[in-house]
């Protein structure tokens, strides 16, 4: 009895801390949205003025509509492409699969801020590729600033998000039905669209909801690409409110955030419901026997070509743009590449102590911070592992909450918490504030990584330990933990990459001592230090690249 009470203490504490870290910012945002001034301002009054203001602002409705349009476009583009891509990669004899696989995931690990900026310098009206196309072909038949273009680019960049779920579902599905269809004379494309993809419908549906939801949260891409023609989406509208009235309009921003959460939280719940359903489905699908690769025949080169084109547009164009821009002094029409080459921008980065610190901090928050975050996620995982009481269900829902809050606002809420919660005040200008915000914002992602590791540990081992009298704590420490160690290492690496990539959460937490590359990029972009943005972006890409290379080297599965 006593042992049981004791072992309940760490669990209770874990749940309590998680609840505090998740709910404090959300409640603060909710409270702020119901005031007429910043909550720390003595002149504030309670009321619905903030909501009345934004609902009366035509920009809000434009932004909402744009968000819906972009999110829908993303679903229309990313879901079929991601599904077909998964089919081709999992089921067919496509050449060079081993090389393509890691490349496919690149767009989901590179900061959207960096990619967007890459698109501007590569394919913008005077981007490198645009200028080349104009010189050789007499014109460039594309534009990247229209709403349509933003939707298409966002759609292409989210193909990997669909791909990971679709391919995981295909893996668990026997290929015998497909072979039957093939024998009956169906073309590979027909097999994909009429047999394989319908079989993994639950996973596709889940991915569609996910992509729609990500579309609603999109920030970096519309911030950079939507600027020239003034296309606002909800998150950039929220950001714009920082200044619209001349002084901060936290109440308006909070109100917009609550509107966003009102859309995203139901989506998160829907995802959860679909995921559970998908698991139920998995058992009634064909036998997971030996997979035989479908010969693509003449389709082989079509498929390879299309994948190549997609990789070219989604990965090579923006990243090569960034890389080039980092090494030139100016660009555009009339600039000769040989004359404008320089290493100056990297020198500027190294000359500026803040940026050097940003690079170190980014490495630190990814490595050490990532490790501690994984430790926290593991602790939360153990608090609910193999338990079905109310607390477990509470935590299950709890970890989904931060997913629904836009990173930008979550960061602002954490700034408030660190400013006005006395025990945390001394930590505000340390990297800890940034780390806590990151860890909470990525809680749902991290928990999925951990729980998929935990699920792989079979119950027999734990039960065996229990029969010989081990306590829950002992089982966790001595049986489960050692068994999931490889999974934890993999999670660490993935969290590292996610933390290197993160940018919006840090925007408001940026302070002397907490500089990280992602947030610094947003700030520098706003300030217009484009040379430095390019150089720093490249550093960021290299950091992510190192993580990716390590992951491949150690055979980490790049998806959960």
């Amino acid at each position: 009895m006593r042992a049981a009470t004791l072992s309940a203490v760490p669990r209770g504490l874990t749940i309590l801390l998680t609840a505090a870290a998740v709910l404090a910012p959300l409640l603060l945002i909710l409270y702020q949205s119901l005031l007429t001034a910043p909550f720390f301002d003595a002149r504030k009054t309670v009321g619905f003025g903030a909501y009345e203001f934004i609902f009366a602002d035509p920009d809000f409705w434009h932004a909402s509509l744009n968000s819906v349009v972009i999110a829908t476009a993303m679903v229309i583009i990313a879901v079929p492409l991601g599904g077909i891509l998964a089919f081709v990669m999992e089921r067919t004899d496509l050449p060079g699969k081993r090389w393509i696989e890691p490349l496919i995931l690149v767009p989901s690990f590179v900061s959207p801020m960096v990619l967007a900026f890459g698109f501007v310098v590569a394919a913008g009206p005077v981007g490198f590729y645009t200028v080349w196309a104009t010189e050789w072909l007499g014109g460039a038949p594309w534009g990247i600033y229209s709403l349509t273009a933003i939707g298409i680019i966002a759609g292409l960049l989210h193909v990997p998000n669909v791909y990971v779920y679709a391919s995981a579902a295909l893996k668990s599905l026997g290929s015998d039905v497909e072979e039957a269809a093939r024998v009956a004379g169906a073309s590979p494309f027909r097999v994909a669209t009429t047999v394989s993809l319908p079989l993994i419908m639950p996973a596709m549906l889940f991915a569609a909801v996910l992509v729609f939801f990500l579309g609603f949260e999109l920030f970096g891409l519309p911030l950079v690409l939507g600027d020239p023609e003034g296309h606002l989406v909800l998150s950039t509208y929220l950001y714009k409110l920082t200044n619209k009235l001349g002084t901060p309009s936290y109440h308006l921003m909070a109100a917009v955030a609550i509107c966003i959460v009102a859309v995203t939280f139901p989506l998160v719940l829907l995802q959860r419901y679909l995921l559970q359903n998908a698991r139920k489905y998995a058992t009634i699908k064909g036998k997971a026997g030996r997979m035989r690769e479908l010969p693509l025949g003449k389709w082989k080169w079509v498929a390879a070509g299309l994948i190549g084109l997609w990789l070219f547009v989604g990965v090579i164009v923006p990243l090569s743009g960034i890389a080039l821009r980092a090494f030139v002094t100016n660009w555009g029409y009339g600039a000769k590449l040989a004359e404008v080459l320089t290493l100056e921008h990297f020198q500027s980065v190294l000359d500026e102590p803040i940026l050097v610190r940003a690079i170190w901090n980014t490495i630190l928050i990814g490595t050490v911070g990532g490790a501690i975050a994984v430790a926290c996620y593991t602790a939360i995982g153990f608090a609910t592992h193999r338990r079905t009481d109310g607390w477990s269900r509470f935590v299950d829902y709890l970890v989904l909450v931060p997913r629904a809050i836009p990173g930008l606002l979550a960061g602002l809420a954490f700034l408030w918490v660190f400013l006005f919660f006395p025990p945390l005040q001394p930590l505000r200008t340390t990297l800890f504030s940034m780390w806590l915000a990151y860890t909470v914002v990525w809680l749902a992602y991290g928990m999925r990584l951990i729980s998929s590791s935990l699920m792989q540990v079979s119950t027999e081992l734990e039960e065996a330990a229990r029969t010989v009298g081990a306590s829950r704590g002992q089982i966790s420490r001595q049986i489960t933990l050692p068994l999931i160690r490889p999974g934890l290492m993999a999670s660490w690496l993935l969290v590292f990459m996610i933390f290197e990539r993160e940018y919006s959460t840090g925007v408001y937490l940026l302070a002397p001592g907490t500089e990280v590359i992602g947030a610094q990029l947003v700030s520098l972009w706003q300030g217009g230090a484009i040379d430095v943005v390019a150089a720093l972006s490249l550093v960021n890409v290299v950091l992510v690249g190192v993580g990716l290379a390590l992951a491949l080297r150690f055979g980490v599965k790049l998806r959960d």
Partner: protein
């Protein structure tokens, strides 16, 4: 070895001792301020000027007062304000010195009692409009300019004054379709302030708004963005661009041209004050005095490449050189005064924004 150390120690002592002598013209008790500042040992500065640009000032200040460490952080002007009021409200103390180009926000902070009253001994050397309530000081003299792409604009197209700018984008609306840029006045406080001033000095502003609409102008929140896009040729013309940044880039960038409008040139002055809750008020005083001193201003007019507000300094970028170039009546500094906070009133600001948007939209539809 020990001898060398002794030398270093002596040199350090020497410079400290030197720093503690009172500059000429300063009150005798200034030595106490210096001593107290040395005891504080640091000064925390929040500034909208990026660290890299401010580096020469920080280095020189540290050379002058080796005992005082400068903790400098750059944020955009709105963030600066947000952070300052949040920190002040949390009672944890904020920046010792606030230095920002958002003149209206700075004046608002002073009006709301966030500034420490401190009459700098250098104040008499400044134009009267740059000293506000003995608390805040204008420190620079930065013109608002036109920028253009040198490779893509012909010599006769380059607008030399506001009327020519408006005429150009109205008459050649096709060439300039989507190629004219200025601040998004909803995002940029500085851009907003400039336009408000324009309504005072430019009687034909309606023509300009019409032209912006007719040429479907593109708006941005940041200066650097516009410089980049005009330089690359994505845009051809930029209106009301902060000249201090434009001129620095134009020096290195063969594609970027800068025009100081001949009819009138607006001038912005970065406002500096000491925080009321400053933890290092004495060090903050030294910093403010240093920035306003001839030595600091000379650097601002040279290495920092802003414009010195003092007329008695000899440097490349100064108020004097600008006035000489344009004629004394054509330079229109925005005064550090209570008047500039008018449009921080929510209703007035929204009305102004809506009127502006409507005028531009009318231009776009050809009315």
């Amino acid at each position: 070895m020990s001898q060398r150390r002794l030398c270093i120690a002596l040199a350090l002592f020497g410079s400290v001792a030197m720093a503690q002598t009172v500059p000429p013209g300063y009150p005798a008790d200034y030595a106490q301020t210096v001593a107290a500042a040395n005891k504080e040992g640091k000064v925390v500065i929040y500034s909208a000027l990026d660290t890299k640009a401010a580096q020469p000032l920080i280095k020189d200040f540290t050379a002058l007062y080796p005992g005082i460490k400068v903790e400098y952080s750059d944020l955009n002007s709105t963030e600066l304000y947000n952070r300052f009021i949040a920190e002040a409200a949390s009672g944890q103390g904020s920046a010792d010195v606030m230095w920002s180009s958002a003149m209206d926000l700075q004046v608002k902070l002073v009006d709301e009692g966030h500034a420490l009253a401190y009459l700098s001994p250098e104040a008499t050397k400044l134009p009267p409009w740059a000293v506000y309530k003995s608390q805040a000081y204008g420190t620079t003299y930065e013109p608002a300019v036109f920028i253009y792409n040198k490779r893509l604009l012909t010599a006769d197209e380059i607008p030399q004054d506001h009327a020519a700018f408006a005429k150009l984008i109205n008459t050649k609306a096709d060439k300039f379709k989507g190629k004219v840029t200025t601040y998004d006045i909803e995002k940029s406080g500085v851009g907003f302030m400039f336009v408000v001033q324009d309504t005072k000095y430019f009687s034909d502003i309606k023509e300009l708004e019409k032209g912006f609409g007719a040429s479907s102008y593109r708006v941005y929140g940041s200066t650097g963005n516009m410089l980049e896009k005009v330089s690359s040729g994505e845009h051809l013309l930029g209106y009301n661009i902060l000249g201090s940044y434009a001129l620095v880039r134009a020096k290195k960038d063969p594609a970027l041209g800068v025009v100081l409008p001949k009819d009138y040139t607006l001038v912005l002055s970065r406002v500096m004050f000491i925080g009321k809750q400053a933890k290092n008020p004495n060090a903050a005083k030294l910093w403010v005095d240093y920035i306003l001193s001839q030595r600091g201003q000379k650097l601002i007019g040279s290495d920092v490449e802003l414009f010195a507000i003092r007329t008695d300094v000899d440097a490349e970028y100064t108020a004097a050189s600008l006035t000489k170039q344009l004629g004394p009546n054509n330079v229109k500094p925005i005064p550090v005064s209570a008047e500039i906070v008018t449009y921080l009133d929510q209703k007035k600001r929204l009305d102004f924004l809506n009127a502006w948007k409507a005028a531009v939209a009318a231009g776009a539809s050809g009315k």
